[in-house]
Symmetry: C2
Subunit: 341 residues, 2 copies
Amino acid sequence: MKDITLKEIATTLGISITTVSKALKNYPDVSLKTKNAVTELAQKLHYTPNSFAVNLRTKESKTIGLIIPEVLHHFFSNIINAIIDEAEKNGYLVIILQSNETLELEKKQVELLINKRVDGILISLSNESNYDEHLKEIVNRNIPLVMFDKISKLAKCSKVIIDDQKAAFNAVQHLIDKGCKKIAHIRGPENPQNAIDRYIGYKKALEKNNIAFDPKLVYTCEKVSFEEGHEFAKQILADHPDTDGIFVITDLVAVGVLSYFNEIGIKVPDQIAVIGFSNWFISQVFTPKLSTVDQPSNEMGISAFNLLLEEMNCHKEKTVFTPKTIELDTNIIVRESTMKL
Amino acid sequence: MKDITLKEIATTLGISITTVSKALKNYPDVSLKTKNAVTELAQKLHYTPNSFAVNLRTKESKTIGLIIPEVLHHFFSNIINAIIDEAEKNGYLVIILQSNETLELEKKQVELLINKRVDGILISLSNESNYDEHLKEIVNRNIPLVMFDKISKLAKCSKVIIDDQKAAFNAVQHLIDKGCKKIAHIRGPENPQNAIDRYIGYKKALEKNNIAFDPKLVYTCEKVSFEEGHEFAKQILADHPDTDGIFVITDLVAVGVLSYFNEIGIKVPDQIAVIGFSNWFISQVFTPKLSTVDQPSNEMGISAFNLLLEEMNCHKEKTVFTPKTIELDTNIIVRESTMKL
């Protein structure tokens, strides 16, 4: 594509570049005749203002970066959906990158976005990340940054979170209220904060109800997959056949558990009740329908973008911005998998 | 963030801008001592090359645009996944926009991407789009363009497709091979090419097997949703209780059908066999497991990006590029919902 410049339009019409520029911006001090001539020629030549050039002047790219662990994860698809819609409403475009849960890729992607001079960065951390150098670098460079869902508590930036401990506590309390006495937990990997917090919530609920915590009842996912759920369900039955409740880190894994129980004819919830986390679409349509913790993904995407927008605006106006943390509410959704009489 | 320029580094060290630039690019004619001094200061000052400035020189933004109908659609999540990974491997970033199946948004988004001077555009059309002006504009401006999955046959650009007619024909032939004699079709909306082609494939399979086509057995989705599947299943039973097979436009809708049949105790496949399209994840884990047409989403994303890359490279080298169409193979995946004896 040949780039048409203001200069070419000016030369062709025999007027100054300033006049062309003013005509295109509809300034009152340019005659209607000139405006028409300029607009007509600009259209004929497919002229578009060069937004990269504009960027050098305003120092804004009107583009933000979004790094998430996995596009294919139902929760993150929802978040992407909310963020790109909200960004577009506010005149921003979104570059999306996925870290595939690795620190190495995440570091590289942060560098790419910094080099691209995005106006701000939204990130949900990979399972391997903490408040590492690449994230400190964003803050040190004073680039607006918001972490959401998978965050580092140490990070000096805005955050949008849920109270994972409380949500997990409520999920396990729900199992106990339904009469469960021996509750296993299929947890997430060792490092990410949300997996740690959900595990703590599980322990606290047991403690509150005077049920002894048994570390042997805790199973740790590596990949957080459907297949792991299926496999752990088998192991739990073999290791502790009298288990009567399972609290699972996320719905995808919980559906793997239900799928194994369906195969071998274990009655859910009569023999074992199961509760997941995140309210994936699949949970509503699976047989039996899965009880879960509703994580407000849409609201989280919208809040994260708007917090970033607030910081980008402060940045533009050179006013001080103090990082904020927004905590969103969660609810237990009771479905067939815990609906004991 | 204060932008550090080569000039500031040059002034501070008392050397020329050219030397600073060469030092940062590790040119052999700069002494190691100078290189070290420059690198150290650049790091200290958080210097990053301004990629928007680079862009003005090379006329490349190393950014592409991707417009899809819906992020939350399982097939498109897979495509996004493949495209952003493939783009990143080749040094490109991806701006993602969703048209929400409307022509109006799609038009606006094409304009945004043109103004942003992306190096190329990948698009899967909304249900309302044909080869309209906004798409012709991309071609007229000589901006590399690849359409995938939902395309316009008239468009003068590269395309990555499957043979929807043949795939649908095979799906319906599979139902006939399993003994189905009265087959309903839940089709997609009137306009999109893939819905039209799947409908034609359905009719051709009936014709080939001397089964009379009955337009009353065709039900048309508006939203292509789980809920519509659920509702149409009810209607089909009421209108044509002797229906023994259903070919459904996509798995999400087919799972809605199965869910209704589960509720009222219709035996699948004994009473009615059901086959979907696209091989969503949910189809493998639903009870009964859904037979479907495997649509190679990963391969489609990779092919679409590489075709765009080929065109972008020709464009850069100012050589002629002739648009290509890549057709990918599909397969029938037989699962419980059609596994009659």
